[in-house]
Symmetry: C2
Subunit: 672 residues, 2 copies
Amino acid sequence: MLLLVAFNSHAEDGHNLWLRAKSTGPVSVVCAKTSPTLAIAKEELEQGWQGKKDAKIALTITKDKAIKGDGFKLSENEVQANTELGILYGAYELLRRQQTGQAISSEISNPSYERRVLNHWDNLDGSIERGYAGQSIFWHDEAKGFAVTEKDRTLWKEYARANASIGINGAVLNNVNASQLMLTTECLQKAKAIAEVLRPYGIKTYLSIKFSSPQLIGGLKTSDPLNPEVIQWWNNKIKEIYALIPDFGGFLVKANSEGQPGPQDFGRTHADGANMLADAFKPYGGIVMWRAFVYEANSKDRAAQAYKEFMPLDGQFRDNVIIQVKNGPIDFQPREPFNPLFGAMKKTSVMPELQITQEYLGHSIHLVFLAPMWEECLKSETYQEGTGSTVARVTDGSIFPQKHTAIAGVANIGLDANWCGHDFAQANWFAFGKLAWNDQLTSEKIADEWLKLTFGKTQASIEWNVCFLSPVKQMMLESHEAAVNYMMPLGFHHIFAPQDHYGPGPWWGPEGVRKDWTPPYYHQADSKGVGFDRTQTGSNAVSQYHEPLSSQFSDVTTCPEVYLLWFHHVPWTYKLKNGRTLWDEICYRYDMGQKQVRQFQKVWDQVEPYVDADRFAAVQRRLRNQSGNTQIWKDGCLLYFQQFSKMPIPYDIARPVYDLDYIIKNFTKDRP
Amino acid sequence: MLLLVAFNSHAEDGHNLWLRAKSTGPVSVVCAKTSPTLAIAKEELEQGWQGKKDAKIALTITKDKAIKGDGFKLSENEVQANTELGILYGAYELLRRQQTGQAISSEISNPSYERRVLNHWDNLDGSIERGYAGQSIFWHDEAKGFAVTEKDRTLWKEYARANASIGINGAVLNNVNASQLMLTTECLQKAKAIAEVLRPYGIKTYLSIKFSSPQLIGGLKTSDPLNPEVIQWWNNKIKEIYALIPDFGGFLVKANSEGQPGPQDFGRTHADGANMLADAFKPYGGIVMWRAFVYEANSKDRAAQAYKEFMPLDGQFRDNVIIQVKNGPIDFQPREPFNPLFGAMKKTSVMPELQITQEYLGHSIHLVFLAPMWEECLKSETYQEGTGSTVARVTDGSIFPQKHTAIAGVANIGLDANWCGHDFAQANWFAFGKLAWNDQLTSEKIADEWLKLTFGKTQASIEWNVCFLSPVKQMMLESHEAAVNYMMPLGFHHIFAPQDHYGPGPWWGPEGVRKDWTPPYYHQADSKGVGFDRTQTGSNAVSQYHEPLSSQFSDVTTCPEVYLLWFHHVPWTYKLKNGRTLWDEICYRYDMGQKQVRQFQKVWDQVEPYVDADRFAAVQRRLRNQSGNTQIWKDGCLLYFQQFSKMPIPYDIARPVYDLDYIIKNFTKDRP
């Protein structure tokens, strides 16, 4: 029995995330004030201190105009901030600097976005839409009621701590495809219990709501946002919420999108719906995050629709409404150009929505570090206010005078011991927090820090840097491009198998299914070529981009090749800049993606001496699976598209090992 | 309708095997005699003639002492032989020379073995043991009776023609695991019908018998071979057979082997059993082929048993008994050293048994040309009568004065349109016939001829030689070594998954199963090393080989490395001649096997312009499957043995993509 306990205590299940520092000596923490948040800051410093022994450190709350929001100023022996939460963030950053061996000079760190929010797509029955790390940490089987246990509270506290350590200050507790039951008193009571655990860590609680709740649980005959009874119902409901959760953050709303109800059901606009709720929130300081993820069946181009629907409403939204816009115009694909709404809506608060959970990037099986993809989006030039109007700057308040700024990440967190399924998926949670705090950070810095915190020792050796840190970091930084290569290179998008969004499915398009839910809609392959024509000769979605982008994307010779098939229908024999035909380059890209993952396997196998056995084996196993998957992607896509190109796979490329019919039959939905 | 017929007539289903020549001009064939066999020879020459137009060719039956058996002498305008069958063989060879562009100079071709026999493991219900090309061409569902149709006769005739064209002159019509029903009158009537179709082509009919038939269908109380009633029963039965089939060849007997009944059940020896039957055959010129494939449960070394059981009987067998000995001491493994009975039984006729059907070599999915394996065996030095006592020469009558010589091949033929499942498996049927006729032939010559006949045009171009013949021949010649590499390199043997003998199963060894039916019995892996110790410190099976082989095999430093783990239990860290450790070399071998098959895929894909679409696609598909299989073999074996070696797979080798538990669960029995 004892032996078993001892063994278990040594097993490394990844539960501690990037929070592994243990104090190497006493420290004296001095703070004039006391509060739950400050107590946490003090405790963290004492338990994680790695600086000089017997040092004294002051936690100082002042008013410093150079410090914004919950920002902080760090020095060797002081954390200074305008708010208690700023102190806590400063404490975590100080510990991180110590653990990663970064110098601490007097410097200010301010958050890029006011609201840095995780969106949990957690259902009230405990399942998670697009969740790959177990059931919900918030909700269990609703049939069993909404009781809260000490075990729940312990986990929520660990969750809050992890979030606070990287600056996340908001959590939407339930799925955007919301149940009306969320707003019942029973559910709100549970939300209150969660909010109380999160509060000392500075995490505000938000909820997703179903727009037809007034009818479904309020007994009203309509949910028309201009109807006085409906307005009253929402006012009452929001009042009820604030009585339970005084610091409640607001609502996240998916309306008139993929079958969800919304104001358009009553002849009203998105602005009518959002503003009605915003007005009700106004007295409490709450906000409405209104999603722009809308598209109709049988439209000419799904990618062009959000812009068409929302741009006419620019200027009509209240200042406590934020339009939540996915990074790209379609749906979290391996690579998309940025959504043209960014920067275009100049009189409206707009917030980026990133997807941390890997719905389209290999679930919790593939090792894909998402920071490079997000960095690529955030640093994209929109040109909406001249050079420098990056997606980051048009959303973080640098350029437009938004009342509120925010950024959302769809969480990848579940009940799995290591929270995220894949140990390296923790890095994506971490990266989201870091980028939400500082949208100018590089992926390299994030990966470096995360690896040191998650796999490193306090005193990293040169050997560790050379033999572990450097190759593993390189693998992480290359991993997204590899995934693009083996899944959807050159601008391919949404050629996934249906439902699961895991394996390839470019062939999938049964009769009777909405065309825009089938891959052929997106790849448009025929005997002449492949790709979606979004130029003037096609859907003209290019016109939604500000010049010079519109012209650049529209011209096949200037369009970045990474977006080639996103914007153009290109002949198979078209010569790319490297001299290869399009068909050959498609082949080489899929092959390169496979080779990259095979190389990742070698990298990982060689760092075995530097990793605990449990995490080593877990990651090794997933890399094998990922590597096997690249074969299915490559064979499936090349053999499928070859039916149109009628050209041979270049003979220096390893040949398929699966037949197309075998893949279609066996792998279209399921994982191998 | 017409269109469909036209299309079908162009589809290439491989049914024509290596017999594709069509006459390019008239020829006048002159023969003094007429007979069914001579008529065939004449017809073949007329329909396949590719020589000078209006040539005259004489078929001359003489008595020429330089010509042996059914041998022949060829010249530009004459086929000369001592027998009608010799004329037929000469005619086929003449046509082959024309089609492959080989010169015809006056030369004699004599058969190496008197009897060149296919063993069909066909059951009376139409199934075929270890058959991978459809059901039996001879037997259909026995419940439906034994009626013979015209379709049957057409197919048998095509079968007989194919055999005759390569010199095969015998066919055992049913499985060695024989049903007693074979000797019932109803079945014998069907055998008679088959024999009548085969006869003009010179194919003698043989049958496998169940040794306990006197009890099972004769109503006797015993099958003791010394019992007068039993002897009488067999005499009567053989008499009955010869009344139906006057040229009947004899019996093939699997006795006291894998549960089959035999003389030992009655306290008699193999010699007692075989001689009793041989005596009954004597008046008719029939023979008994008695298999030496015997091994007991729980023996120290299965490989040593046939020798132990049969050597004491040397000299006791009648001269019309031939002991049928598998090429290696275990069971048709990807590579075995030759069976030590070859050359050791000096006073007994011994015939090699080769397996054409790829029970242990990838069934009809893997492309494995078996001629190199057989050539390796036939040319192995036994040293039993000094240098030059090769397996071929000690069995073909060159060295010992055997009354009868013979060689058997377990057929790979079924109802599949192309006879053999894999188009390239036809080459193994072809190669068996060619080697049975001339046991000194090289694999290269056989492959060259088969490719020209099967895929070539009459006037082969230099382009065809360079772009098709040369690379495809190279692939064939390398294919067996590749299979050894990815399945069982360095002397590994019988580490197959159970029953199916297709995928890897080195881990398979459930409680209660005979140890010698489980792979761990054969590989003996432990923390120290791997391999079966057959030296003096182990089973001492090495002592069954004649010096200098016994000493050479016994010493780990002189043992050929291809047999290393067959004869030795070798430490994982043992240094091979190339300087690598055993473990590393095992890894490199599996990896090389995979690379070789991947290369075969490239070879095949590049010859697409030279192959009809049907056979191209069929072979391409199988190569993909084979290539995928190499991954399962490599990953399964390396991850399994790594549990013992505890050494890393060299880092320049592509990593596994499957986990061991996944392979064990999903692939141990079934094909992917």
